[in-house]
Structures are given as structure tokens and as C-alpha cells.
Point group: C2
Chain length 141, copies 2
DNA sequence: TTACAAATGAGAATGATTAGCATTAGCAAC
DNA sequence: GTTGCTAATGCTAATCATTCTCATTTGTAA
């Protein structure tokens, strides 16, 4: 229930929609949610927020550093709670399962590659698209 | 002028729009082009192709393995000639400059990370967003 | 040259995301 | 507690990249 405090310290006014969205991510049932996902889930739990508001809130949360935004292959963006430690993602092309991982060597070599070419790394995104090895994979549809 | 042969061996009928698009990429003036870019350039050189056709052709070329498609941060996709050797990209957030690089260690560690978690890598995308170190960077706008 | 399937072009349709604007709700000062 | 003001919300319409539809045109093989 300290969502209120989180919002305040992020410099955001504490409003109903923002609290709802934040709680949803903190509930931890799904780490990776698209705007549409959030919208649906809130409606399902009887909370009446507009889709436009969901988009706005998600983006504000990203600016504020509460959430991180990802662009997995395809169209829609996906958000997840920012818990400090950076990590990359493996996405199953079959069932959509997302697994996170961190590899210090990869991080290091990236910085090196950039530096060698006259760039100062600001950010990076690494997505591995793969197939779950059966039987882990529940082929979707 | 062997674009014709390339199309044939890719199993594609040799048509005007396809030849034009392929030549454009082979001319090598810009390695990374969006559909819009291609469309504009063709119009500029007096070749009258429809935007829808450009999209179709680019996607067919991707299927055929002639081009590779990338999703740099933001909206539109970007295509580049597939010249066999895989590589990743560094994109300057300021001026848009794109540099390519390949790091065997990174590739290896990715495969390893995936395998350890029960995935068979199908594909991956790694984009480093950075800032050119001055004075290389011609700050855009 | 003919004939037919495949390709093209123009514009409508789609899907995700954002903008505009009237209405409502936090919140600080009475 | 009220009051009042600004920021936030919720619609809906707009945008932007991309895809679809379908009538027309173009390769190509016979």
C-alpha cells in the first residue's frame, strides 16, 4: 500500500487511475503488460479507466523511472516494473513466454564496441527470439 | 545489372518495381532505408511506384532473404541489404548515424544464455542507442 | 501474339498510439 | 470541512505506419 508514497516521490500526483495501474504491476501476476493488457485487466476488476489514460499513465511512469518500456518484435509496446537491475529478454516465438537474463560479459562488450567506434552508450535493447524446448512450450493457439 | 538474376534465383518474377527497389539498395548510397525512404527516393528519380508496392516488395525481399528488416527505437522499420554476415547496430540518438558491429563473444553468450534456460535461439536483435562523441556528431535539427 | 496468373496502384481499412477539449478530481489555502 | 485552481481524466477524433481490396496492368510461358 505504499504506492501512494512511490507516486509522490516520483513527483506524480496521487490519483485513482495511477494507483490502480501501479498496483497492477506490483501485484506481480504478470511482469510484462501492454497498454491494452492493463486496460483490459482494470476493466475486468471493475475499475473504470479510459484507454487514453492508461497510455498516458504508462508513459509518465516510464519517464519517472517506475516502469521500463520494451518493444518486442511486432507492434505493441510492453511495460514492466523497474526494479533497478537491468536485464535482457528471451521471447518464445511459439507461446510468448518471456524470460529475463543478465550477462555481465555481454554488457561489457557492448560498451567496448561502442567506445571503440566513438559512441557513448546511452541505452541498449537486446531481445532474443527463440523457441521453448518442449515440453516447456505450450504452443499458443 | 545482375539484379534480374538475383530476383529469379530468389524465386521472384522480375518486375519494374522490384528491379528499382533492389538497385536502390545495391547502389549503396544508404545502407539503411525505411519504406518511406525508398518510396521518396524512387519518386525523386522519376520512377513511379506506389507506396503499397514498396511495402510489398520490401517484405517479399525480406522473406526471400535479400534484405534484413530492423526495428530501431521508434516507429518505422528499416531495411538493409543482406550480405550474409550478421551484425548488430549502434544508433546515434542525436544525429541518427548508424554503425554496424559484430562481436563473436556477444553472439556466443547469447546462445549460451538461451540454452541454459531451455530455448533454441531463432533470431535476436541488439541495438545500442548512444551519442556520437563530438565532433563526429552532426546534431540533427 | 495470346492468355492467364501474378503484380501493381490507389485508396480504403486497420491497429496502436496520441491529441484536443470539455469535465472532474487532487490538494493547498482559507 | 469549503473553495478554487490546476492538473488529470475520459471521450472521441486524429495520426502514422502498415496492410488489404480490387480493378487494371504486366511478365512470361506456350
Amino acid at each position: 500500500m505504499n504506492e501512494l508514497i512511490q507516486l509522490k516521490s516520483a513527483g506524480l500526483k496521487s490519483t485513482l487511475p495511477r494507483l490502480k495501474v501501479l498496483s497492477l504491476f506490483e501485484s506481480g501476476n504478470d511482469r510484462h503488460l501492454s497498454a491494452e493488457d492493463v486496460y483490459r485487466k482494470l476493466l475486468a476488476s471493475g475499475d473504470d479507466v479510459g484507454l487514453a489514460t492508461v497510455y498516458r499513465v504508462l508513459n509518465q511512469f516510464e519517464q519517472a523511472g517506475l516502469l521500463v518500456k520494451h518493444h518486442f518484435e511486432g507492434d505493441k509496446s510492453v511495460f514492466e516494473l523497474n526494479q533497478g537491475e537491468h536485464h535482457d529478454h528471451i521471447v518464445c516465438l511459439q507461446c510468448g513466454r518471456v524470460e529475463e537474463f543478465y550477462d555481465a560479459t555481454i554488457e561489457l562488450r557492448q560498451k567496448k564496441a561502442a567506445a571503440e567506434r566513438g559512441f557513448a552508450v546511452h541505452d541498449h535493447s537486446l531481445y532474443i527470439y527463440a523457441n521453448c524446448i518442449k515440453p516447456k512450450c505450450q504452443y499458443k493457439s
